[in-house]
Amino acid sequence: MTTIRRFSCNDLLRFASVNLDHLTETFNMSFYMTYLARWPDYFHVADGPGNKVMGYIMGKVEGQGESWHGHVTAVTVATEYRRQQLAKKLMNLLEEISDKIDKAYFVDLFVRASNTPAIKMYEKLGYVIYRRVLRYYSGEEDGLDMRKALSRDVEKKSIIPLKRPITPDELEYD
């Protein structure tokens, strides 16, 4: 039961039950508001009956030339609404916007190398591990850069895995 709509500032006051989860980062206000101000189409919330926040996705679109891509910054679902494929719905929405509206080549995301459940889920959604980013998370844990090609990348060039791992300063975008 999912009403997916654009995320608004007031949702920041409603998402506590989602963000209390230890894996969901609560960013500072300028971070959320920069996303809202620049990429409102990439920031969506899913409401359930009784106006409960079920989960949300935030992302952006960036890059140049063939690396013009959608990026998933965070996707999270409240405990109560897990195992209902909500993350999939939210991801599909972001992919559709990247594909249809912004005509991006691919969508990418970063995930902790140790977060096996999440990696498995992204793989099920069609993402492949494009490359490993050494010590991406607070200089401690490696991150995996996962990608899914969109319709504009006809030859699926964007997702050919990189052979060697890279360091965070080699990343093209933050």
């Binding site: 009403t3 006051l13 409960k52 096996t116």
Partner: protein, 1035 residues
Amino acid sequence: MASKFGLAGGIPERRVRPIWDAIDSRQFKNALKHSTSLLAKCPNSPYALALKSLILERMGKSDEALSVCLNAKDLLYKNDSLLMDDLTLSTLQIVFQRLDRLDLATGCYEYACSKFPSNLDLMMGLFNCYVREYSFVKQQQTAIKMYKLVGEERFLLWAVCSIQLQVFCGNGGEKLAMLAEGLLKKHVASHSLHEPEALIVYISILEQQARYGDALEILSGKLGSLLIIEVDKLRIQGKLLARSGDYATGADIYEKILELCPDDWECFLHYLGCLLEDGSSWSNGVHNDPINPQKSVDCKVSQLPDEVFHSRISTSLAFVKKLQADTSDDFIRCPYLAILEIERRKKLHGKGNDDDIVEALMLYFLKFGHLASFSSDVEAFLQVLTPDKKTEFLAKLMKTLDSPATVPTKALGQSITIFKIQELTGNLYKLPCAWCVFLLHTYTCLPYATSKLHNPLKLESCAVQMVKMYCKSLPLSKDLDPQESMHGEELLSMVCNVLVQLFWRTRHLGYFIEAIMVLEFGLTIRRYIWQYKILLLHLYSHLGVISLAYEWYKSLDMKNILMETVSHHILPQMLASPLWGDLNNLLKDYLKFMDDHFRESADLTFLAYRHRNYSKVIEFVQFKERLQRSNQYLVARVETSVLQLKQNADNIEEEEDVLKNLNSGVHFVELSNEIGSKTLTFNEDFHSRPWWTPTTEKNYLLGPFEGLSYCPKENLTKEREENVRRVVEKKSLLPRMIYLSIHSASASLKESVEENGSKSGSKISSELKFLLEHHAKMLGYSLSDAVEVVMGVSSGVKSFEAFGSDEIDWINFAVFLNAWNLNSHEPLQPDRDQCSRGIWHVVDTLLVKYISEKIKSMESLVCSPRVDLPILVQLVTEPLAWHGLVIQSCVRSSLPSGKKKKKGGSMDRHSSLVLNGVRDSIQSLCDILKEVAKWIRGQIDRPEDESVENILSSLRKKEQDEGPGRVFHVLESLIPSINEAEHGGRICQELKTWSALDVARKIVTGDSTLLSQFLNICESKIKSFQALKQQIAQI
């Protein structure tokens, strides 16, 4: 940027870059060195000076920075030949902004724009300045100028947004919307629109004027194609149609949306609203109260004739059935829950019956009963059932368990759901708990005798069964990642709820300790479960071990906006605790977050302007206002000052410094006066609070058991509003009253010593009297009646009950009354004869009596929760501390000072009376503090092992015995049977670390930590009073 550097006041980039690099890498000294050499070459360059001021500001040299910045500004103004480049201006702007002088920055841009009226960059800079100042009218005027200059769509929209801001957040009237519409219309006619956001703004302006038809026309015209996602367009259309009253077409549109998004619940509600011609779901927006929204959509009883109503209901049913048939996705719940909503509407219309609702609930259960969200999905529908029907529904649920789901996780999910429904309907606490046995049997296949079904076991057995189910379900999670939530986790939260209920009923602390143990056990298995942590936090708070509560709070890592929505779990308890360091951090972090946001918000608003996301502009400004009006923010500001006053109260000089920084409390008095007319916002998210304390003000456990479980929780926001106003109104008078009391005390002695009545003394006296009257009024009395109450309670004529729950406020009142009386020539009670000593004595008696009563009422931790501890702490750290300041002030004024030596032995009658009062006061306060200290030491010095043993002994029960310990016994007896093959390595490993003894020891240690902090406070006060005693002996 490189090319821009080249233009900076004509300075070559190579000279400027090292400065920027040094600033960026925070090497300010180095930056300053580069800046000095640059200034040697270009002493009159405003840009060079602006850079210097920027560096100085970053180094914390605000005064110097301001002066250099003003220099730069003057040079800029004077030298007409210089270019007014945006880089210089924006650098100055940054510094002025950081120095809180937005006006100066705006002045610079205004000047620049007047000199170069067609420079678009400068005008954008000026517009940005007005955004920062929230000057909507000036924003509008500047945007219009830019629009006229270049004719770009975005500047027109900037103007339109500025107009909307005047309507929503300023004083702008409705006519302004017409102006905005006119501007847009003209532009559309000549240039059309090119941005989807521009179209959305256009439509919302028409909507504001109730011009739905016009808006629809635009949407269905050429401009409509700007909205690429079809559903977005349909949603707007549906809303406009419904609001215009064209429900039939609206319903068609919503059908279309549901065909595209069959799981969109909100859309379904709109669809039904259209069919039944009920517009409530559009007028009662979610956004009215984003934090505490209504559980079910508010709807009017349909006015449709029965025949029409029936036909519409049939239409909706047919449509929903079609949706069900068309969707193959197992996770789409909306078309199924829709049946329930339709039945609910029928009932509201007087045409439905409870049987149909129960049947629909059953169907929904069969399909989705295993999901964790089931109970919250159906919560609103349960509410319309009569108690009998709820019981019938539960009975039917039980029956389904005759043939439980074959997948174990599904079967577990269904069983948990049934427990949750029982909790939700309150039946868990009323039903004979044989239900649980039945339920458990079905899930676990444990043997049970049918006869037991008719034997009403106690609530306690229910908790036992739940915890057994939890143990039984552990193997299902053996392969899960530790980050993933485990199957059956909710069971322990429910067990905790039942145990707390049992504690409430029986007052047996064992149940309470058991609830703690259950949750601690759960967290040993998986340490990330925030639901357990929050429950534990409240359990420890109620027990009186706030230090442990705070530990759990910290482990939740609440930061940023969560501090606004979630810190209510700990903040109120911390305010009354002796953990001043932790409280200070809590308040400081929260205020920093809020103030940072207020500072940054305008720049982010400008970012939304720049990226043409106009709807976000309005949203950001409204959100900032919402946070500024936050009740918690207001409370935190007042409490931060009160905390400082508490922390420094043992030293009058330090206290005076604090008061000086608080402008002698004047601002807070203003706040107190304004609070009545302020609209406060309540952003706290109370959903995660336990049932026994649904808001910060309520704790049902403090009262007697009333046979209720308080499920579902009420929405108590309205009730809170009044309370918060009262608290802020009273608390914000404190700093000023303390200030005036100190001065009143000293004036009384100085005047009598100097024998030249000072004017300031009478001023203080009249202001303090005014505040006392105000304070009394807030307590519900006139000044003279309040004096009577205080006197009555002190003399024992009235009991402490007369103070109600405002005891601290009453004793504060007595303290300030005494301070006023010292310097007032008015009699306290005009018709009574009394001596000055009288009121000193009243305050002392009140403090001594009340404190000793509290000490006596508190047993050791292992006997009952120490609910009186916060009051005791407050008594010592507030009224007693303020009274201590009055005493310090008296002593200080009586001491012979260097210059003005008092005439030896010629102290007048007034002074000697006052000093006698002071002497007595010091003695009795010192004595009572020693008693408090003795009590604390008595608690701390108890042998740890003995206390630990006491805690554990309440839980040592065999399973078959009744009373606390049975649940705990189930958990403990699980441990020997744990094995890797069945439970997986991780769970086994974690469980090896479980030790109830450690938890008990943690409670005892936590208690000592807390009490030690309180002891430190008391000892510091004793020391201060002893020093005063010595001083006064010399007078």
